[in-house]
């Protein structure tokens, strides 16, 4: 029987994969994709507990997260274009002008 514990465990694995991708990958696009993965891990977690607790508020919140993630993806892609125009690359470690 698949219960909430399995969903949470899956969500945790997905979140960690996304987190490692965000922190480790040099490619800005991959980072963005990893970020989506983390969002969806959170969504999965929200829905799992919504289902488990029979409270629809979790699923509503998941819809909001998907909306925000869409907006974030749009901004992220805009940043990528700006970076490419500025540095002619999508490597994230090239964007270090704010180094102290």
């Amino acid at each position: 029987m698949i219960d909430a514990t399995h969903y949470v465990a899956l969500s945790l694995i997905l979140f960690c994969l996304g987190l490692v991708g965000v922190m480790m990958r040099r490619n800005f696009i991959t980072v963005l994709m990893s970020l989506e993965l983390m969002f969806n891990a959170v969504n999965l977690n929200l829905i799992a507990f919504s289902f488990r607790l029979s409270d629809l508020a979790g699923q509503v919140l998941a819809i909001f997260v998907i909306t925000v993630a869409a907006a974030e993806a749009a901004i992220g892609l805009g940043l990528i274009i700006a970076l490419v125009r500025l540095k002619d690359t999508v490597a994230l470690d090239e964007a270090d002008v704010m180094r102290g």
Partner: protein, 697 residues
């Protein structure tokens, strides 16, 4: 109109002259003609107005009381408590008085003063215009001061004149101030006068303290109404202190040394100020304040002793001097001594009489010597003169008349007044005045000896100057000339007065059983305070004549010795021989008893030492303190600057530096990698979660 209501005009006229000559003529360098006209007008107006006013007063007023004219209120002070416990107001008026004594003084001061102004025109004609104006300005100013002195009706006004004549004396002695020794002589005169003035000033204070008034009339009445004799001490204090003033002004021992040096001034000045008028101010003042002395035997004796000793002391110095003016200067000191000798035995009238006759013959002698010096082109050493008789006859005969007068040959002026003095002194011994009879006899003897010395040194002067052959070299001989009329006219007038003046004003009636024939005795009588003791002469007729014969014999002896040494012995070998036989005595006299050196050693040098010391103190300690304060301030502000720079600025910089250093460390946090920040965020969140777990366990 009563002219004597405006008696203050008499001093005012010369003051106007002085102001004009001093402020206009001298500044603008006006011509000599303008200067001398103004000066003569000032002195002449004083003379004419003074005589007219005095004559009118003489014939209209009661002459036993002084006629006081108040010009204006000078000082209005509060009440002071005086010696007897009552209060007296300090109200001093600039008031003037006409009384017999001031009438006599105004009479001869204005007259002799005018003559000397006239003489000065001739004597000073070689000066530049400005100096000429300066000279006459001083001379007029002197007339103003002297006339204020003799007409003032209280001690403060007299003091104004007293200081004024001292000032003019200083200015005129130092007239040739480019020569250092003239300026020094002026300073010496002024300082010696100041010493005396100190006594005078104290006397004024004491007079007010004891009597509550400074008016001569008030003082006279206060003293005259004293029947209990309880003013005796007060009179002694005031009298002696006044006499200290007189000692300074009239050059008596011990303050006489300034007068011989005062000869540095132009000769007419020596005649007017240092022989005829100013130096007699002391005698005038003692006669004016006779009531104090009449009450105090001590003060009288002091005056008599100082006068008598000075008379002989100065005469001995005069014996050997070679400078023609120095001889006359010591002669003046000696004659002033006679006057004080007379005043000291109560013969105030005889003293004033001698003042007047002395003014005639001594002014004549000084003016004569001026004429001689003028002819000899400034030479004053008698050893380089001689035989001037034939070059300057007028000067010679006037000088001779005055010399005979001072030597005391009857019936010339000097004889009459000097004999009156000696008779007075002898009388004081004879009547055992104040029980000091023995001392008065001794003083009389000194006076007699002085008379012989006077006759000797005066004829020595005449023989050395006018007889024999000229010793000044051939070139100087060509320049010898008689002086212009402005110089010889005063000489002739004064010579005539020396001849007959004595008999005219003070006929010695007692010698001819004609008591009361002496004008001056009757005239000045009311001025003198008498204690009601019997008047007239205590000496018998025979004794009077005996004294006269004795003094004439003594004078004749003096002349004879001078004749033997300096007339029939043209090379003065006998005099030189005598000097070499008594070298010590000769040196003593020639060096004026080393009095100047004595003062230099005892007073002047210690004073200079003291002022050096004070200067050192000033330079080292006072200046040192000032500089020390400065150094302290500089040092402390330097330290304060260091503190400011190091500590205050250091703190401010430390704040800045610490931020700098800290921010250097903190900026390392800003790695600039988005992933770095993410990592920090993740670890931070993990940390928070960890803490959360630990706390919630």
């Amino acid at each position: 109109m009563k002219l004597y209501d405006f008696i203050w005009l008499v001093p005012l006229f010369p003051l106007l002259g002085a102001v004009f000559n001093g402020l206009v003529s001298n500044r603008r360098g006006l011509s000599k003609k303008t200067t001398q006209t103004v000066a003569l007008l000032g002195a002449g107006a004083a003379w004419l107005y003074g005589w007219a006013a005095v004559l009118q007063w003489f014939f209209t007023e009661d002459r036993t009381e002084p006629y006081v004219v108040k010009a204006f209120t000078w000082v209005t002070g509060g009440d002071l408590t005086i010696a007897d416990g009552s209060t007296a107001a300090v109200d001093i008026a600039a008031s003037f008085q006409v009384d017999p004594l001031s009438a006599v003084m105004v009479g001869f001061v204005t007259f002799v003063g005018f003559l000397i102004h006239l003489y000065s025109i001739g004597y000073m004609h070689g000066e530049p215009d400005r100096d000429y104006a300066r000279y006459f300005s001083y001379l007029n100013l002197f007339m103003f001061a002297m006339l204020t002195l003799v007409t003032g009706s209280n001690l403060p006004v007299l003091f104004v004149g007293w200081e004024g004549v001292g000032l003019c004396s200083y200015l005129l002695i130092g007239f040739y101030y480019e020569k250092g020794w003239c300026a020094a002589a002026g300073m010496k005169a002024f300082i010696f006068n100041r010493i005396g003035d100190f006594g005078f000033l104290l006397a004024i204070f004491f007079a007010f303290h004891f009597f509550g008034t400074l008016e001569f009339k008030g003082l006279f009445d206060a003293v005259a109404s004293d029947h209990g004799g309880h003013f005796g001490t007060a009179a002694t204090i005031v009298g002696v202190l006044l006499f200290v003033g007189a000692i300074g002004k009239s050059a008596q021992i011990p303050l006489f040394v300034w007068l011989p040096d005062a000869m540095a001034g132009p000769t007419p000045v020596s005649a007017l100020i240092h022989a005829a008028t100013m130096v007699t101010a002391g005698v005038y003042m003692v006669a004016r304040c006779n009531y104090f002395y009449q009450l105090s035997p001590t003060a009288m004796l002091t005056v008599a002793i100082i006068g008598g000793v000075t008379a002989v002391f100065a005469a001995t110095i005069g014996l050997v001097q070679n400078d023609i003016k120095k001889v006359l200067a010591y002669s003046t000191v000696s004659q002033l001594g006679y006057m004080f000798l007379a005043a000291g035995v109560g013969g105030y009238i005889a003293a004033i009489f001698h003042v007047v006759t002395h003014a005639f013959f001594k002014a004549c002698l000084f003016l004569g010597s001026g004429s001689v010096i003028h002819a000899c082109d400034g030479e004053q050493d008698m050893r380089k003169m001689g035989g001037l008789k034939k070059y300057m006859p007028t000067t010679f005969w006037t000088f001779l008349v005055a010399t005979i007068a001072i030597a005391g040959i009857p019936p010339l002026a000097g004889f009459v007044s000097k004999d009156a003095i000696l008779a007075k002194v002898f009388e004081a011994g004879y009547t055992d005045l104040n029980h000091f009879g023995g001392i008065y006899y001794l003083l009389w003897f000194l006076g007699l000896a002085g008379a012989a010395l006077t006759a000797f040194y005066m004829f020595r002067l005449v023989f050395m100057t006018f007889y024999g052959d000229f010793r000044g070299g051939e070139e100087a001989e060509h320049h010898l000339h008689e002086s212009p009329w402005t110089m010889t006219l005063p000489l002739q007038i004064l010579a005539v007065l020396s001849l007959v003046g004595g008999v005219l004003i003070g006929f010695p009636g007692q010698l001819f059983h004609l008591e009361g024939w002496s004008f001056i005795d009757r005239f000045l009588g009311p001025v003198i305070l008498t204690h009601g003791e019997h008047h007239g002469h205590a000496l018998s007729f025979g004794l009077e004549w005996g004294l006269v014969i004795l003094s004439v014999a003594v004078a004749a002896a003096g002349i004879a010795v001078a004749y033997r040494f300096y007339r029939i012995d043209p090379g003065f070998t006998r005099a030189a021989h005598l000097a070499s036989r008594f070298p010590l005595a000769y040196k003593l006299l020639l060096n004026k008893y080393w009095i100047d050196e004595l003062y230099a050693a005892t007073v002047i040098r210690p004073t200079l030492k003291l002022s050096d010391l004070l200067w050192e103190f000033d330079a080292r300690v006072v200046d040192g303190a000032v500089n020390g304060t400065r150094n302290l301030t500089v040092g402390s502000s330097w330290m304060s600057g260091i503190f400011d720079l190091e500590v205050i600025d250091g703190l401010v910089n430390l704040v800045g530096t610490s931020y700098d250093v800290a921010s250097r460390q903190f900026r390392r946090l800003q790695v600039g990698f988005a992933q770095g920040y993410a990592m920090v965020m993740v670890f931070g969140a993990a940390l928070l979660l960890g803490i959360f777990f630990v706390v919630n366990l």
